[in-house]
Symmetry: C2
Subunit: 765 residues, 2 copies
């Protein structure tokens, strides 16, 4: 084939193909661009002086020694920032976070001052010479205590106005509750009274970190007509809007450029270093780069620690009739996107089960810890941890098989979820059944003997997509039939550029090799809400498909105008007939915002909570040493419903990546605190999984599904692999040695203590 036509000889040739990632060559040859590599002429390096106390009034800042150091260009505090930006508070949900601390600090590690120098080592040394005097205030660290603590982190709540559903919180005072979300379905108390059994358990999850191998980094360049921000961000459109708001500028005077990201996982969402870097660059009149160290990531953003109480009424046959959930989210000192997690994930806290009576109370709490944000799953892994552990504890109490109790209770197609939204294209049953099949669950299982015992567990979770959000795309066909896709989706390793190229090629019926995708750049690529919550495949996929179809329609119209058949005429000939030479473009525009019905205030009920559901399940096998409590995960089977996979090879790596990440959160990762001070802020002391921590057997599979409302049947996959990992392993341990752990991470020590506590009881049923 030497020329392309719209005759669709290639239609269907792009979707579902495991083509190599479009950026693979750039990355393996070391030519891929990252912000850390960027140096601009005249650029200064910024280093942050951070708070050493968890909660205090600032009574003095002495920057004189720092300022006097040879090579220091400038030292800025909040007073300097306020000359440029009178109200320098930022944040996606609340305008609560100062660019540099104003009057008080709210967590250990909060930025207080910034040193600029041409030499980063000079800036570093000078930042250590800054002396801040504090008058300490009572602090609160635990999310449940924060509900009632006299230590109040913020005097007044300042919702950003970005999300209309937070407006009612404006000017609320003397509370650490940034948001309380409530769902009420049926009559839970009556159902508990009517139930054969009522079970109640409390679970906890720990603070953990995103820890992308590329730490946070931003370069701001005060160009003459525009402030140009190069940043490792998952949300360039949001950064542009937020920086323009802070400065009181039109959006178009701020340009945000994002090259490749060395991982994101939700850390690089909304706005992080961008506000400080931008302000410093504008005040200095010079390009400024702020690049955090690995340690500083511990002072920037964590995943919410949670306490989860869950109580269920159950019939003697194992049918769950009622469920009450309380979730306390430890949001740290600044809200970031926590309130949205509280609500947007909170409404699924009762799990993927068909329960007539449900109450959910979900609280987003301020504490004096590093702020918490979205981390691969947007709160769902914490919820699944609780409800799936709870499910297995009920099963054990009723002497039921874990698969059997789930078969009785799972939400089947067309049934209402707790909000009342009917389940559509949600492969809960197929995922569960395929997991059982791959685990050969119903065959006899050898659980070992003596000091080496084996066990297995399964867990399944589901997640809504955050809604409503908007994506836009442009597809531009050149006169030779090659094509460029413009979208602000950030390829941070998940392969989105490749997927978008496949969507465009599929819609146009041209070979995917003729499609390229440009990097996000707010001067170039149109608006996108953000690359988060596994939304891009569905939302941006639709936008790219719509743009490609718009381009295709325009090309058909052009062919008709010049009297040619688009089905049989090579694309270049259509252009040439119109323009007299190789000239012109066909530009298609696409946008997508899914339908959405906001939940009723108070009850949380809605008929349309999400455009699609993500399903993920894990089966785990473990071996436990009964003498030491040491255990190893010998097998993980991960099943997901991703609709129709766009690129099966990339889907597979997304599942395995998510699973391994959650494995770290399950087995080893935990931020340790002492009076709010992180005591293990290094990769030497905070253990993330290495290749030797990966289970010897890992199986990942996307079940055969189609998301009918999705672009070419597809939906997101980035998070689904995380859902079931923690509870499946905990249940496997319980299955092996009869020890039920209810707090993450799962450690040998905890198993050992459990074994000791159970001394005398049989290890296995």
């Amino acid at each position: 084939m030497t020329t392309d036509t719209l005759g669709n000889s290639n239609a269907g040739a792009a979707m579902g193909r495991s083509i190599p990632r479009v950026e693979a060559r750039a990355k393996v040859t070391g030519r891929a661009e990252y912000v850390h590599n960027l140096r601009l002429p005249g650029m200064l390096y910024g280093r942050i002086h951070r708070s050493t106390v968890a909660h205090a009034r600032i009574t003095g800042v002495d920057v004189s020694a720092a300022q006097a150091m040879p090579g220091v260009y400038a030292v800025y505090t909040a007073a300097d920032i306020r000359k440029l930006i009178p109200e320098p508070y930022f944040g996606p949900a609340f305008h609560d976070q100062p660019i540099l601390a104003i009057d008080k600090v709210r967590y250990v590690g909060e930025p207080v001052a910034l040193v600029l120098a041409a030499d980063p080592h000079v800036a570093d040394a000078a930042a250590q010479q800054i002396v801040v005097e504090y008058e300490e205030l009572p602090a609160v660290f635990d999310e449940v205590e924060a509900m009632t603590s006299k230590a109040v982190v913020h005097e007044v709540l300042k919702p950003a106005g970005t999300f209309p559903d937070l407006k009612h919180l404006k000017d609320k005072r003397d509370t650490n509750v940034a948001l309380d979300f409530h769902l009420r379905r049926g009559d839970v108390q009556q159902a508990f009274a009517d139930a054969d059994h009522v079970f109640e358990h409390t679970f906890r999850t720990q603070q953990v970190l995103h820890l992308p191998l590329e730490p946070f980094v931003t370069v701001a360049d005060p160009a003459p007509n525009q402030l140009v921000i190069h940043t490792a961000s998952q949300s360039p459109s949001f950064v542009r809007i937020e920086i323009a708001r802070l400065l009181g500028w039109p959006e178009t005077r701020v340009r945000v450029k994002v090259p490749y990201l060395g991982g994101g996982f939700g850390a690089k969402l909304y706005i992080k270093l961008e506000a400080l870097t931008a302000a410093a660059a504008l005040i200095a009149g010079r390009p400024v780069k702020i690049a955090l160290t690995m340690e500083e990531q511990f002072y920037t953003l964590t995943k919410h620690a949670t306490t989860l109480r869950i109580k269920s009424g159950v019939t003697r046959d194992g049918k769950i009739t009622a469920r009450e959930c309380e979730v306390w989210w430890n949001g740290g000192a600044y809200a970031d996107i926590g309130p949205r997690i509280t609500q947007k994930s909170g409404f699924t806290a009762a799990g993927p089960y068909d329960i007539d009576h449900v109450t959910i109370d979900s609280y987003s709490l301020y504490t004096n810890l590093t702020p918490a944000g979205a981390l691969r799953g947007f709160g769902i892994p914490q919820l699944v941890w609780a409800y799936e552990s709870h499910t297995d504890m009920i099963a054990k109490a009723l002497k039921m098989d874990p698969l059997a109790i789930r078969r009785i209770n799972i939400l089947r197609e067309g049934r209402p979820q707790a909000t009342g939204t009917l389940m559509r294209d949600a492969g809960i049953e197929p995922v569960l059944e395929r997991l059982a099949e791959r685990m050969t669950w119903e065959k006899k299982y050898d659980r070992g003997s003596g000091t080496m015992r084996r066990g297995r567990g399964i867990a399944i979770g589901f997640k809504a997509s955050i809604s409503p959000t908007t994506s836009m795309a442009i597809v531009n066909i050149s006169a030779d039939g090659s094509c460029i896709v413009y979208c602000s989706t950030v390829d941070m390793g998940q392969g989105s550029d490749t997927a978008m190229a496949q969507f465009a090629a599929e819609a146009l019926g041209i070979p995917v090799e003729r499609v390229s995708v440009v990097h996000p750049d707010t001067d170039v690529t149109p608006y996108d809400m953000a690359t988060l919550g596994s939304r891009s495949t569905y939302h941006m996929g639709h936008a790219v498909k719509n743009a490609a179809e718009d381009a295709r329609d325009k090309l058909l119209a052009l062919a008709a105008e010049v009297g040619l058949s688009a089905e049989t005429t090579p694309i270049p000939d259509i252009f040439r007939k119109k323009y007299g030479m190789q000239a012109g473009n066909i530009i298609g525009i696409g946008s997508f915002i899914p339908p959405y019905t906001p939940p009723e205030p108070g009850t949380g009920l809605t008929t349309d909570a999400t455009p699609f559901w993500m399903i993920g399940a894990t089966g785990a096998e473990v071996e436990v040493d009964t003498e030491t409590g040491e255990f190893k995960v010998t097998r993980l089977v991960n099943l997901v419903d991703v609709g129709r996979p766009v690129n099966p090879a990339i889907v597979e790596t997304q599942i395995s990546g998510a699973t391994i990440m959650q494995l770290g959160f399950t087995l080893s990762e935990r931020m340790e605190f002492d009076a709010g001070q992180v005591t293990n802020a290094s990769l030497a002391d905070y253990k993330i999984p290495g290749i030797r921590d990966v289970p010897p057997v890992m199986e990942n599979e996307a079940v055969d599904m189609v998301q009918k409302t999705g672009p070419f049947g597809a939906k997101g996959v980035g998070e689904s692999g995380t859902f079931g990992v923690s509870p499946a392993i905990a249940s496997a341990i319980d299955d092996a040695v009869g020890v039920r752990l209810t707090s993450l991470p799962l450690t040998a020590e905890a198993v050992y203590r459990g074994l000791r506590a159970n001394a005398g009881k049989p290890l296995q049923d």
Copy 2:
């Protein structure tokens, strides 16, 4: 006003305002980006070894000494290029120019080999160590001799196929005529026979240079998925297409980025250094920069020297009844865009006069000189030089006033030009009359006495716009109502970014301060034929206006969709109602290709030769020293028809810039040759106008006109100031001292020789 609506409260506020140039601040603060400033990691500098002979077979190239020099990365000759590009010939009209000389050289200065080194001084020194052996061939330098010379520059003609009207020349052999254009209207020979008088004169123009103060420069970066070319080019779209063609790649694998240009004037059109730089970068696998010296510009591109023979039949009352024109264009060794000039300007060779019988024969000739291309006027200044000198020589012979003979003969609105195309919105008469008024032409004029004599002259020219050509634009409105214009028009100092912002603001009815314009970048800005021939205001102006109107229509539709009035609702509120937050874009697409009827082959006749006419006239006053021939231009009055001026202040600078440039070509600039070798290739020896060469009185005015078919009544202005300068000054000299010069430049020596030749005759009538 705090918010913008589409209520058009600002409509009409952008067009016709002398707002400051949008790039002014960037330029005066030294922050504007130019390719010369660009350095990339790992970049190599390329230096060219050039031919020392005008026409020769290459019998050997010895690069061993260069290659052996410490620090040299590589030395490439045509053999290396051909491994990458088997047919490495480029050019807009003919594929005649090799990237590096293949087998023979055709002019002194032709690139033969390229040295790459990390240090440009090393590359420079090494380039001088290359030894090429030549077997010299007979050469031809004069354009008229080239018609019949046995020295043939190209064995065979290779039309590029870009322009369909050159296809008939394919494979033509043994001729130096790259294109011959012929126009036949009426019966010239019969009309000559019937005329009261027949006058015939021959005129010549010299080789001159564009000499932008930023010499040619290109950086090519072989990125993993794309070849990125940063280049000082007036035609990024063409560069992309041509490089992709050479490499056999899809267009989208080539990205061409153009920052500000330090002048262009037609030099930086089509393809120049880009092919060599791109090939070198791909072979080396490293970024490569080639930046020419001022001297090397003399070996890259000139303006066509011409010989023009013009013969007219005239009644005793001064009515011109017939005209015969022959024009020989000295195209140098490679055609560049010369054949198009020959035709697209050639058809106006008879001048802006209403003549029933016209023949034009226009020849594009290969010679063994530096290639010639388009230079501010696309051949028109040469034609005006001839026909306006001729007009005044006729007037003098008939003892008529120069204004009077023009009043009798000029093309008035609605009359057919030589092609048969009717004149529309062509302010020939208003420009001429306003010039007469400003010169107080009909008042008595003091022509001095003794050795200081004064004289004055007027001249008027016209130009078609090259047609048909295509422009496309995108207008993107952000959620806060600010807006970005995407177009590939290159701002090379002419103020196009400012004009495009004004067009978009006018069409949207928003303040121009809320509109920004991005730099051309083929991955970002859509197709545009090129920034040439004063076409951008009209063509890209239409495209931007269309795109803005498309965006406005979409915004109106969006407002209606969400139940708001776009007339009264601030733009941000419309977005917010639709997207639930500050989100989204409205993207308008615009394209423009004017109607066009190709000329009949043979006769050159057409009813639709051009989308608009540019008119320019100059009145000059001189003082001549009768003892030495020295003269000075004391006053220049420049009148143009630009339709409705978009930005009067910029229009004024365009007129004065063009006039001063043409003043250099009129008075001082001339490339001197010795056997094809330029002997004055430096700004010390080749005199361009300085501030002290500007006449003490210069008046520039755009007459009150509207181009009805233009965007908001506008049309181009970049070249119109050049038209009348040379003949007006020559006529003023003749008026002062009775010496008629027929060759450019006009020198004191030539006047002195004329005075000597006329000795005894009265100086003035």
